[in-house]
């Protein structure tokens, strides 16, 4: 493998529902309905836009990166329209494309070896990709082409996607940085009924804009992974023996799990318990709301969470299993100190002065939680940060 290799997979019907007033495009019935309403698929156009921006940013001084693509309308068409000679990987199935096709073809592209996987689609496509590319080491970037684009794995526009892809690929392999971004799982049925309940589905490694050399008067910031480990160390050092802890979703929480030596799930809520000697053990994995309430009943308990979804939600986005009854039980027995928030300094900084938000489903509880909470940001490093009802 000499030069950088990028790959493209397009969900050709992503976004098809939006223009005709349908929320999303999951499911054959919805697609058929959209097409019957006169919807025209735009995902391929968006992919072309991204690839053209990539070419422009890459410049003419050196050969363009090698581009692999899924066949036909799932990638190769758009690649050729943008002036690339793609290496086609895999074969299309019969009939219209499905999520299974996306997953299969993405998997084959990854197996062929690449530095960056570009996909054009929406949150649904992101989930499909997450299923095969969630493992660390595969850099993924989303070209926004869906109706619902809540996940943080997308660039702000097709041009921005092409721009970032070119910058990422231009870096020497050792300099390419990615950060873990959340892929949200929006219950479409609930959404169409007017209820909004996103959950954390998984995480993908998304390119960070390269930081060139800068004047330094102070040490450079720790990598995200190092910051997460530092938080893990601090939290682990302050957990109380004989207590059960509800651990929310997210990679920072998973670092805490690693530190405690328990198999914490990435997207679920888990419960660990420290025995009388302070040794941690996993009590339950990926629990639902009802089981969680039962687990914290009648014993000292605490909860450890990190904001999910970029808008700073502590409760109510991505961790609804930690329902109001669970929180009330914990607060009643152990007080506010039992709520342990963790966040890297970069995450707090990115809030730009906006507060944490809580939307537990119990408005009175939200008001009770409002005020300030202690946040663990590193080893021996805390912050106090404002919390408000959503």
């Amino acid at each position: 493998m000499t030069g950088p290799r990028a790959a493209l997979v397009v969900n050709p019907i992503a976004g098809i529902g939006g223009r005709v007033g349908l929320a999303g495009s999951d499911g054959a019935e919805i697609v058929a309905e959209a097409l019957s309403r006169g919807a025209i698929p735009h995902a391929n156009d968006r992919a072309v836009g991204a690839l053209e921006a990539l070419r422009t940013r890459w410049g003419a001084a050196r050969p363009v990166p090698a581009l692999l693509a899924a066949p036909g309308e799932m990638g190769a068409d758009a690649a050729r329209r943008a002036g690339f000679e793609p290496l086609v990987v895999g074969a299309l199935g019969r009939g219209s494309t499905t999520a299974a096709d996306t997953q299969r073809l993405a998997g084959e592209l990854i197996a062929a070896g690449l530095d960056l996987l570009l996909f054009a689609g929406g949150d649904g496509t992101a989930r499909d990709i997450c299923g095969v590319a969630g493992a660390p080491g595969v850099a993924v970037l989303g070209i926004p082409a869906g109706v619902k684009i809540q996940s943080a794995v997308f660039a702000t526009s097709p041009a921005a996607a092409g721009d970032l892809a070119a910058a990422f690929l231009a870096l020497p392999p050792g300099r390419r940085r990615t950060s873990q971004r959340e892929v949200l799982d929006l219950d479409e049925a609930a959404y169409r009924r007017g209820e909004l309940a996103p959950r954390l589905f998984g995480e993908l490694a998304v390119p960070e804009a390269g930081r060139w050399l800068q004047a330094r008067k102070a040490p450079s910031p720790a990598s995200e992974a190092a910051a997460a480990r530092a938080i893990g160390a601090e939290v682990a050092a302050h957990l109380v023996a004989g207590t059960r802890y509800v651990l929310g979703p997210g990679s920072t929480l998973r670092s805490i799990g690693e530190r405690l030596g328990v198999a914490k799930t990435l997207v679920g809520v888990d419960v660990v318990e420290l025995d009388a000697a302070g040794r941690p053990g996993l009590v339950a994995s990926d629990v639902g709301a009802a089981r969680l309430a039962a687990l914290v009943e009648g014993c000292p308990a605490g909860v450890v969470v990190t904001p999910i979804g970029g808008q700073g939600f502590l409760f109510g986005r991505g961790n609804q299993q930690i329902g109001p009854d669970v929180l009330r039980a914990i607060l009643a027995r152990s007080g506010r100190d039992a709520i342990i928030v963790v966040a890297t300094p970069a995450k707090l900084a990115a809030l730009g002065g906006r507060p944490f938000l809580v939307d537990t489903g119990d408005v009175a509880l939200d008001r009770e939680l409002a005020g300030y909470l202690r946040v663990v940001t590193g080893r021996s490093e805390h912050a106090t940060y404002r919390v408000e009802p959503a």
């Binding site: 300099r175 930081r211 004047a215 805390h382 106090t384």
Partner: protein
């Protein structure tokens, strides 16, 4: 030749200037080595001495005697001079440029007369253990400087011992620790509060001293969140370490309230006065209720930055903390100056000896040249320059000054290029790469970036109106280029000493080379016996 064909008058110079950095393509000094060349000869042992003592070095036992000569380069004297003069030319000192780009560093003119004064043998060749009777001049200067800084800060006593700003913060933290320990609360008081817009050394020093650090983030106005402070203080609070104005340049008018909140729980308040340049003679740490403060003499008080030191730090304390000051202190007894080393409650030494004496003399001379009215003018001019430059910079496309919209700043501003980045994809780091093509510096912010795509400018009192216009013109040019031809900005620098550095090896233990011998071993196949 007619006047028209003579080429005169010469066309006016364009703005910004067509700068190019000195570029000598200079090898590493080892590559200039000529075996046998000598740069200087030390005195040789007199034959008469050898007759008495022989050669003691040769008599050292094996195992303690150096076996092989150090592989230092060998150059004739002129070649050493030439090499370093070239490297000096490739360094952009304050003297050479409108140095407003290194925000928070307070880059001002270091008067040449002060550099000359400290070269005098009656400072340069003093030994710190000389009998005080033989160094009354220096002791008097230190004593006077302490009183001047005490007046400027509103504190009661000073120490000039710390080597620089972070060392001064450490000294203050050390005194804070001693204070609480003396009251029997050393174990309980294990938390220190600071802010995200203070210098990272505040948090770092506290952490090194064994404290848990609680950081306050800014509210929507850019002030440290006051509610967060109230939530953070407790009986565990040892101190608040805070800067005002912070690195955004915004003065926090409620600073005394922050101090009061900390005092109410029995904590101390320490003022990092790295950003003092705009408030000299206007407002003081002591008047806001602070218990401790520190100055960076190489920032506010004009001592040169020297490529990163030596600088000098000065800590101020209220009277009830004076017993913890580092030893020795400079005291006046009658009309004599003495060093008081018998201070049982002192935190001890924070460095060898008494302070970075040449910088103490420079700072003293600078203050003596200006006086009270002059210091006030320094502050006012810095503030005027900063607000003037801010007005000019905010006319540039793509830049904003978050927080305190429409309000005045003190001596610096943290800008944001977020709009330009959104519209062109060019980032603040890339803008900085291009700015150096115009013969000046650029700095973003400490990490993490709370202000997105930041740039921090601090135009001290040393710059003229034309200087500020020039700097604004440079930024305007780079902004325009970002919109019209972003690739030209991204591929910068174009007029520097070197081209774009590939810093990948610096992150990779297998590739990094921190010395030439490591580089030769890892990358040039030099012998394994050079492995250190």
């Amino acid at each position: 030749m007619s006047a028209a064909a003579s080429g005169l008058p010469i066309a006016q110079k364009p703005t910004p200037r067509r700068f190019h950095q000195a570029r000598w393509d200079e090898p590493i000094i080892f590559e200039l080595s000529v075996p046998g060349a000598r740069g200087i000869l030390p005195p040789a042992t007199e034959a008469a001495i050898s007759a008495v003592v022989g050669n003691p070095a040769a008599a050292l036992p094996a195992g303690i005697r150096r076996e092989r000569p150090a592989a230092l380069p060998e150059l004739s004297q002129v070649h050493v001079v030439r090499h370093y003069d070239r490297l000096s030319q490739e360094t952009l000192g304050v003297d050479l440029n409108v140095d407003v780009g290194q925000g928070t560093c307070t880059m001002k003119y270091s008067p040449k007369v002060n550099d000359q004064l400290v070269r005098s043998p009656r400072l340069a060749d003093l030994h710190p253990l000389q009998d005080p009777a033989t160094v009354q001049g220096t002791l008097e200067i230190m004593w006077r400087l302490e009183r001047m800084l005490a007046e400027i800060s509103g504190m009661d006593r000073m120490t000039l011992q710390p080597a620089a700003g972070s060392a001064a913060i450490w000294t203050n933290v050390s005194m804070i620790r001693a204070w609480h320990a003396a009251r029997g609360e050393g174990a309980v008081r294990d938390e220190i509060i600071t802010t995200i817009f203070s210098h990272p050394s505040n948090a770092a020093c506290a952490k090194v001293a064994g404290y848990r650090v609680i950081t306050l983030y800014p509210d929507v106005n850019g002030y440290p969140d006051l509610g967060a402070l109230r939530a953070a203080v407790s009986e565990r609070t040892a101190a608040l370490l805070i800067t005002n104005p912070e690195d955004t340049g915004i003065f926090n008018p409620r600073i005394a309230e922050y101090v009061r909140i900390v005092h109410e729980v029995g904590g101390l308040a320490s003022y990092d006065q790295a950003n003092a340049n705009g408030i000299l003679g206007v407002t003081r740490a002591g008047d806001a209720g602070f218990d401790l403060c520190h100055f960076n003499l190489h920032k506010t008080f004009s001592t040169p930055h020297a490529c990163g030191g030596p600088g000098a730090g000065a800590c101020g304390v209220k009277a009830d903390l004076a017993r913890f000051l580092p030893r020795p202190t400079v005291e006046r007894v009658g009309d004599r100056y003495v060093l008081d080393d018998e201070r049982p409650d002192s935190i001890g030494k924070v460095r060898p000896w008494y302070g970075v004496a040449p910088n103490l003399v420079r700072a003293y001379a600078w203050i003596m040249s200006l006086g009270a009215a002059g210091l006030r003018e320094v502050a006012e001019t810095a503030v005027l320059n900063n607000n003037y430059l801010m007005a000019k910079v905010l006319e540039i496309r793509g830049v904003s000054a978050p927080y305190a919209a429409g309000r005045r700043r003190i001596e610096q501003v943290r800008y944001s290029w977020e709009q330009l980045t959104r519209e062109t994809g060019v980032t603040t780091d890339e803008i900085g790469q291009r700015v150096v093509d115009f013969g000046t510096h650029y700095w973003t912010s400490h990490h993490p970036f709370v202000v997105p795509e930041p740039m921090t400018l601090e135009p001290t009192e040393s710059y003229s109106r034309a200087d500020l216009d020039e700097h604004a013109a440079i930024l305007a040019r780079v902004s325009a280029e970002a919109y019209a031809d972003p690739e030209h900005v991204r591929s910068a620098p174009h007029a520097s000493t070197i081209h774009r550095i590939d810093d990948a090896p610096l992150d990779d233990p297998a590739a990094w080379a921190i010395t030439w011998r490591a580089y030769r071993r890892k990358h040039l196949g030099a012998g394994a016996d050079t492995q250190g």
